[in-house]
């Protein structure tokens, strides 16, 4: 990751899971107005390169901070906890959910109206995803957040994310 500066401090925000999206977006726009390379079209080559670098940092930070999942991952990272992509989850309830969704995804593609069937699956995924997000939110708000417990939820969110992009690419291929 290219960040000499912590994303939160770059945006002048306290290090916290709670981020006010309106003010984040406003700050993002102000920052880009200050550092975007287009503002340096008549500056020295050196200054233009620095502007590209800074603007990249601002874009990267904005992406991380505005996404609830990536923000959680980033906070774990700041606390030296890596949510390993290859780790397995043993929670039987979660595994069952995963299987069910995979099955409905499979059958949606064979449905007579695959588009609406896939839309339904996507809605299902979104609902579960959002439930886990609120779980994370409350865990982060504890006075001594249990980062290990959070990282397990983050892992589950990553699974749902993958399912979501699979469903979306199926949807796109049917729209073709």
């Amino acid at each position: 990751m290219i960040n000499e500066q912590n994303h939160f401090s770059l945006f002048g925000l306290p290090v916290s899971y709670d981020v006010d999206k309106t003010s984040l977006t406003r700050k993002y726009r102000e920052l880009q107005k200050a550092v975007h390379p287009d503002k340096f079209s008549n500056s020295t080559e050196q200054e233009r390169l620095l502007a590209i670098h800074k603007a990249s940092q601002v874009n990267d930070g904005y992406e991380v901070l505005k996404s609830p999942l990536r923000r959680a991952q980033y906070l774990l990272e700041l606390n030296d906890i890596v949510a390993n992509d290859n780790a397995t989850i043993s929670d039987p309830y979660f595994l069952m959910q995963q299987m069910e969704i995979r099955e409905s995804l499979e059958s949606a593609t064979k449905n007579t109206d695959p588009l609406s069937a896939l839309d339904e699956v996507l809605d299902q995924i979104d609902a579960m995803f959002n439930k886990l997000l609120s779980e994370i939110k409350s865990k982060f708000s504890e006075s001594e957040p249990d980062y290990v417990a959070i990282s397990e939820v983050v892992l589950k969110l990553q699974f749902f994310n993958r399912l979501k992009s699979e469903a979306e690419s199926q949807l796109a291929s049917f729209e073709n």
């Binding site: 990751m1 290219i2 770059l10 002048g12 306290p14 006010d20 003010s23 406003r26 700050k27 726009r29 102000e30 920052l31 880009q32 107005k33 200050a34 550092v35 975007h36 390379p37 287009d38 503002k39 079209s41 008549n42 500056s43 020295t44 080559e45 050196q46 200054e47 620095l50 502007a51 590209i52 670098h53 800074k54 603007a55 990249s56 940092q57 874009n59 990267d60 904005y62 992406e63 979306e168 949807l171 796109a172 729209e175 073709n176």
Partner: protein, 626 residues
């Protein structure tokens, strides 16, 4: 980069002077140049009063290069030497061109570079060189019309252009002697033209169907910021495809065999295009096919019939529309406006289908042929420094994911599509053999999971890795995509701090040295002395550095620099100034570098001050929030 600044040294313009800058729409079928003159953006006409320059280049046996309407008129009689729709060939390899092959009459030849060339009566030319002829013609038109040399240009490209196509466009501009301020996406340019015109806010869809490319972008407009949320498209879909569909219909009706000669094919295409244009206003048209001066078929085509013929082409635009909405994370009902861009949106059935899809009557207020060039010229005017207080800012995205080849020919995505640019991503690699000193990286662009299904952009060879035990080297490779959507790769071995040397082999483009070679040969007549040209380049570069630094110092030296620091900077600056008057190009280059070294802390401070100023407006509210 410096190769083309061939303005007279010492001619650097004072800041208050209006600097001449243009926006160029380098289109598949037609190209335009526009400029902001006394506050209003307008396209520039040639001596005959026409604004559109047909993107057609003819190379005659007498080594004459003809661009525009005159070349276009010769397309039917001299198809092999008259190149139309060269934009479709930009950044493409021989294999791609073969797949377009049955539609193209040209004789492609493999050249020493990765880019194929077209054989003509006056030699072989690459698509980059052919495009540069169009740009040269527009540049000459602009300089005649504006009465001076241009300081720079904004050149538009389809948002859906991949990196190789963008690089090819920039190379063509370099060859044409243009200083490229920015490659701007066509839909974004159109949004600028509309946005500034109406001062609108909200979410806007730009539907851009040109001669050979289709783009759709979703933008969020807010107080001068144009933020592209998502873009999608098809870089080989446009009005040309409608023409081909209609030409095929004529061919069947007229019983012309499919192996007819090129000039017959060209004639059919011209009939098809003319019929399509006539049918935007009329309900039917009569077509006459001739051979050796005799009419061999004559018949009529109604608008309803034509709509049926071209419907499959029009329907192909809807899938990218759905995808752009999905990627932007918004639905049709969130869209406040739909703007039509590109000549092909004149076709009534296109407007109908797009209107039905979004449920909004599309906007067609600004001439769809001119809107892109106009938007580009507005940005060029700002980037030239003519409007220092302007709030406008364009935040664009990368249209296709960037990835790396991994084991087994699979792709690992490093920058997903629709990420706002500029963006940088770093990836760490290690060696798999003891003492390994080199490593190859293959960068591709596209959405598929298999390397062969994506576009190969370049192969990078890292050399000079310090020899170590297998797996212990930590090579951090940084992929930087700039605001033009162009990729730059750097590598660093983290344990030793050694910067690896990177050799880039563009898969379909021209290498630096090939560009230089082309420039050299194109300047041969004007400037015999290569040394003199190199000196001029360095002098111009030095002037640019001096001007920019002096204006920065005037701005904030007092606030940001101590006396000792200022003295140091002034000393290096005055050495550069005196060296610049001499005739040693390499020494001037070294002195520029010296100034940069001395100034690096100052440049950093300036950037931080910018950031602080930007954040200052929020401090009050921050206290409340905490």
């Amino acid at each position: 980069m410096a190769l083309l600044q061939i303005t007279e040294p010492g001619q650097s313009t004072a800041p208050h002077q209006h600097r001449l800058a243009v926006g160029i729409d380098l289109g598949t079928t037609n190209s335009l140049v526009a400029s902001v003159k006394s506050g209003s953006a307008e396209t520039l006409a040639n001596e005959q009063g026409s604004h559109l320059l047909p993107s057609v280049v003819r190379f005659t046996a007498g080594d004459e290069v003809i661009v525009g309407a005159e070349a276009s008129a010769a397309a039917a009689i001299d198809p092999l030497n008259t190149i139309v729709s060269v934009k479709r060939l930009m950044g493409r390899g021989l294999e791609d061109l073969k797949s377009l092959g049955d539609k193209l009459p040209y004789q492609f030849v493999e050249s020493s570079s990765a880019m194929p060339s077209i054989k003509t009566a006056s030699g072989e030319y690459s698509p980059v060189e052919i495009s540069s002829e169009i740009l040269k013609s527009l540049r000459a038109r602009a300089e005649d019309s504006l009465g001076g040399e241009l300081v720079g240009a904004v050149i538009t490209v389809p948002a859906y252009f991949d990196e190789a196509q963008r690089q090819a466009t920039k190379d063509a501009a370099k060859l044409a002697g243009l200083n490229v301020f920015r490659l701007l996406n066509e839909p974004t340019a159109a949004a600028v033209a509309y946005g500034l015109d109406t001062g609108s806010e909200g979410d806007v869809v730009i539907f851009d169907l040109g001669g050979g490319t289709f783009d759709v972008s979703v933008l969020r407009l807010n107080k001068g910021i144009f933020e592209v949320l998502a873009t999608a498209g098809d870089s080989a879909l446009g009005g040309d495809d409608m023409d081909h569909a209609i030409a095929e219909w004529i061919m069947q009706q007229a019983n012309v065999s499919s192996d007819a000669d090129y000039s017959m094919m060209r004639q059919l295409l011209q009939h098809a295009r003319a019929a399509k244009e006539t049918l935007t206003a009329q309900s039917s048209v009569v077509i006459q096919v001739t051979q050796d001066g005799n009419t061999i078929w004559s018949g009529s085509l109604s608008r309803t019939q034509m709509n049926e013929i071209i419907l499959p082409v029009v329907n192909q635009t809807l899938r990218p529309c759905r995808q752009a909405l999905r990627d932007a994370g918004i639905s049709k009902s969130d869209i406040d406006k739909v703007v039509m861009v590109g000549g092909s949106t004149r076709v009534p059935v296109v407007r109908d289908i797009v209107g039905d899809f979004f449920g909004i009557e599309p906007l067609v207020d600004i001439d769809p042929d001119k809107v892109v060039a106009i938007g580009a010229s507005i940005q060029a005017d700002i980037l030239a420094g003519n409007k220092p207080d302007d709030e406008m800012l364009l935040l664009d995205v990368i249209p296709l994911s960037l990835g790396l080849e991994t084991m087994g020919g699979l792709v690992e995505k490093i920058v997903p599509r629709n990420t706002t640019i500029p963006i940088a991503r770093a990836q760490e690699f290690t060696t798999y053999k003891d003492g390994q000193t080199a490593m190859a990286i293959h960068v591709v662009q596209g959405e598929r999971e298999v390397v062969d299904d994506c576009r190969s952009l370049a192969r990078f060879e890292l050399r000079g890795i310090p020899p170590m035990v297998a797996g212990s080297a930590r090579i951090q490779v940084t992929f930087q995509v700039d605001a033009d959507g162009l990729l730059n790769v750097t590598a660093l071995e983290k344990n030793s701090g050694v910067v690896s040397h990177i050799e880039v082999k563009p898969s379909y483009g021209l290498s630096e040295s090939e560009i230089e070679q082309m420039l050299r040969s194109s300047f041969d007549n004007a400037e015999k002395d290569v040394r003199l040209r190199k000196l001029r380049e360095q002098q111009v570069e030095a002037d640019r550095e001096i001007l920019a630094l002096e204006s920065a110092l005037a701005d904030d030296a007092e606030v940001l620099l101590g006396q000792e620091e200022l003295n140091q900077i002034m000393e290096s600056l005055s050495i550069l100034k005196s060296t610049r008057e001499g005739d040693d190009a390499d020494l001037i280059k070294q002195r520029i570098k010296d100034v940069e070294d001395v100034c690096s802390f100052y440049v950093e401070r300036r950037m931080n001050r910018n950031i602080e100023k930007a954040m200052a407006g929020h401090s009050v509210e921050e206290f409340k929030g905490e």
